[in-house]
Symmetry: D2
Subunit: 294 residues, 4 copies
């Protein structure tokens, strides 16, 4: 089975590497060609233009945002005009539900398949094959992709035949993670100012009601004020909550907690946080309580 991979950021590269390790014939494309080097040395073919990555049975895309994916798909020489009938575009980017819907329509018009398959996990998890994948699309297309997704992640969760459902799940999942960061930040601001030991509180939480990795991970990052190195950058956090709000706006669903989190990101970014991890929104809570962050 031959597969293309477009978008070789840290996540995309790790995913493409997993495909190579599973012995797939992988052709990779990246706007900045240098990023393809490491994969080529591991056996990938290099595509010098998008069309060359579209000659297999499927092509993955893993790009920064709606704009980047739109360009790769709709521009002249893009995926839409290059992908053979009957083959699949697997979109793993975190994009808007609206764009996913548009892609589903446009691919279908051309006899191409479209599957949304965004992922949960950081680059290290991707490299270790530990990503969780949420996938949605036509049943036969999904079946065709199944072994590819299996090679990439540790488990695939299915959300029906409407591709945008998978994007909404991704967006909602990130909203929930951001909600954990916000709620912990407020609780820590309160306890910290009262002189209660934050670490003991976190130990208590994670050994009782909140014993999920998400609380352990983000709770520790908040207490340690560990805003670098960046696992997931603050501007991406803003982008993702905007996707949630935008989906809510289209569907007429108010998300007041989403609005609150958006304002936290804007405050962070307005005050020098552009290159910090998204957990740094916790310093907005701390500073509004008069506690200067590190």
């Amino acid at each position: 089975m031959k597969v293309g991979f477009i978008g070789l950021g840290s996540m995309g590269s790790a995913m493409a590497e997993r495909l190579l390790q599973a012995q797939y014939d992988v052709t990779v494309y990246n706007r900045t060609a240098a990023r393809a080097q490491a994969l080529v040395s591991q056996g990938a073919r290099h595509a010098s233009q998008i069309a060359d990555a579209c000659r297999g049975d499927a092509v993955f895309t893993m790009l920064a945002d709606d704009g980047a994916l739109e360009s790769v798909v709709f521009d002249e020489g893009g995926i839409l005009s290059s992908l053979p009938k009957g083959t699949v575009h697997i979109s793993s980017s975190t994009i808007s539900a609206a764009l996913a819907e548009r892609l589903a329509v446009e691919h279908q018009k051309r006899g191409q398949h479209f599957v949304s398959a965004p992922v949960f996990g950081r680059p290290e998890a991707a490299a270790a094959g530990k990503l969780f994948i949420v996938a949605a699309g036509a049943k036969d297309a999904l079946e065709k992709c199944a072994p590819l997704l299996e090679a990439v992640g540790q488990k695939t969760f299915h959300f029906g035949d409407n591709p945008s459902s998978a994007n909404l799940v991704k967006i909602s999942g990130n909203f929930l993670i951001a909600s954990v960061i916000e709620s912990l930040s407020e609780a820590f601001a309160l306890l910290g100012k009262a002189g209660v030991e934050q670490r003991q509180f976190l130990d208590f939480l994670t050994s009782t009601l909140f014993n999920a990795p998400i609380y352990k991970t983000y709770g520790t990052l908040i207490i340690d004020k560990k805003y670098t190195p960046v696992g997931f950058a603050a501007p991406l956090g803003l982008k993702d909550v905007r996707l949630a709000l935008s989906a809510g706006e289209n569907l007429r669903v108010p998300l007041p907690l989403g609005s609150l989190i958006r304002d936290r990101f804007l405050t962070l970014l307005a005050n020098g946080g552009e290159s910090l991890d998204w957990v740094a929104i916790s310093c907005v809570s701390a500073e509004s309580a008069g506690q200067k962050a590190a």
Copy 2:
């Protein structure tokens, strides 16, 4: 060791029963005496007035709110005037940090000890000895209470010698639980209106990043719109978020998510939710998205 127990609601009764089962000599008091019956039949002594429950080595209180505890402690014939020097008042009610501070001062003036030991868990957990206890107070007082708390719960977490710290931990813990309810409610409103299967989403969450009981429990209650029977009543939820906001106000710590949750409770209570479980605030999200609750 002789111990008194004041406040025999469903939580208090279950806790007192645990003490009896551990062979303590327990004297119980409740304003409505009938509630003492079941415990007396299990071997408890009945106190017809508060003072009679204050003749042992320690007295527990488990009451509805600040007002109820203030009355039991400060009124004529109350705990403050009845408790012998050197004995301990163990307060398990969810009360304000401010009242805990006042109690610490007043007991100390009279040579009495004061320990805050609020609990996490529902009445069934209490009956099964599965409560988690968060305790704070002077070290020797805490040591004295340790076997009693061990009889009552499955584990005690210590938060230093300032009793109000334990109350802040309790308040913050409940704030975090309410935050989980609110964030899930908003995500479910979005996904529900988009036609994404909510139960699949919850399965995904709880088998990956959010595999904590709190998400499983409340996620299921929200999806099932199971607002009765009441595990924890909506007005108590409002009370607890008010305690968080009030502590924040005293310490000058804004809690915007707390404010949002407070408004959810008020909306619920203004629209017929007084006798529903606190998870019913999820219907505020659903209804504001135009989806009528059950």
Copy 3:
């Protein structure tokens, strides 16, 4: 007509002075007696205890908050036990609706009248007889007070026979003023960061749709970052929005804008704003946009 006046802060003193100028026989009381001096030199009698200010046809109170008024009314030797039957307690303090209701009941029990008559305006306005008074209470009591209120303010607005209605009007009015400050602050933060001339914007507003003094006054203070001298202190602003939220909580009325304003005040007070004018909450908007206040 003889009248007492209790509470000689800057507002109370100015109001009492108006009564003296209108030739009333005024007896003044203040906890710190020195504050009575200026009025005595203008012809007021000095009361060395509360009861001495309660021997006329009416007694005004103008105190800082619920606690201060409760003490003056309910403590031993307070107004409740001193005021003759058939005379009136005129409460001009900004207090909770709940306390006004309690006062109405307690005075009635003793055959005394109770009128709520809070005022709008700053001390200078009070001195110039330019206050607006909102009054509520039993019709005959109101009629009795009418000439007194006329002496104090420029106009009295009546809100029926339930005294707490006047308090709710006062609380709601202050909430609306704070809303003007918050909305202008956000708009100015946006325009300021975009490089649009804020003063031109304010001129435009106040010469077209928003030509009310409140926009002119607060808009100018915000643009000039004039947080001192204090016309109305930030902690009082917090107190008043808390009164609105507390009334909303009792009546089951969520006030999300009220909650937002409360968080603005807490942020201000947590960051050094205790002795600034309440308009200084505007710097919270500016700073969250990355624009440092003066």
Copy 4:
């Protein structure tokens, strides 16, 4: 002086009529040609395509939103390719600051002028020449337009040479009006549930501190629950607050009150309010307090 006018909705038609009355030679264009009829009967020339409306000294546009204006400007045969060098595009639509910036750049590239001149007022005000106009653009272009704007409105306010400044002023002005609606709605919900006479409260407000037409107008509409006929439709209100939030996002300025208002609009639109006046967001406050709207 010859002038084109594109976009003949109720506002655009009224503005074009003012130009005719001032004896300008006006050529009008509307996608749905029938809307041009009334103006033609008053002496306007009819343009069957956009280019025909671009042959004078200036062309006005008054369209629904960014998308409509983009289409009219950038599509083949649009304004950009039709307008002669040295003539002016006067944009009166309520559009994003971002689009205004793009238009300024694109027109300049082609030697055309661009002036932003959005207006405040309802169609009746437009017909009566009572609009307030906020204008920004290059000085000489503004001077050229001055007589045209004078013919259209009662007064023009200038905001410098950056066209998008005028758009930000328009957006901020509408944000402030929406803030008045929201703050009044919350206050009325509180007072209404407390049984205080809302109309008396409004009379008090508008005869004292808040004596601006905006409070009188919207206060009366809220009390009367007069959501039709539509002066300004709720979806346009959502659009405008979205423009404010979007400008804030680009500039990194959080607008929490803007977010709150956005959620009010979404709640209204999710519950059947698509064809109501934007003042109908007041029923969200009332209903969340348990008071059913008319």
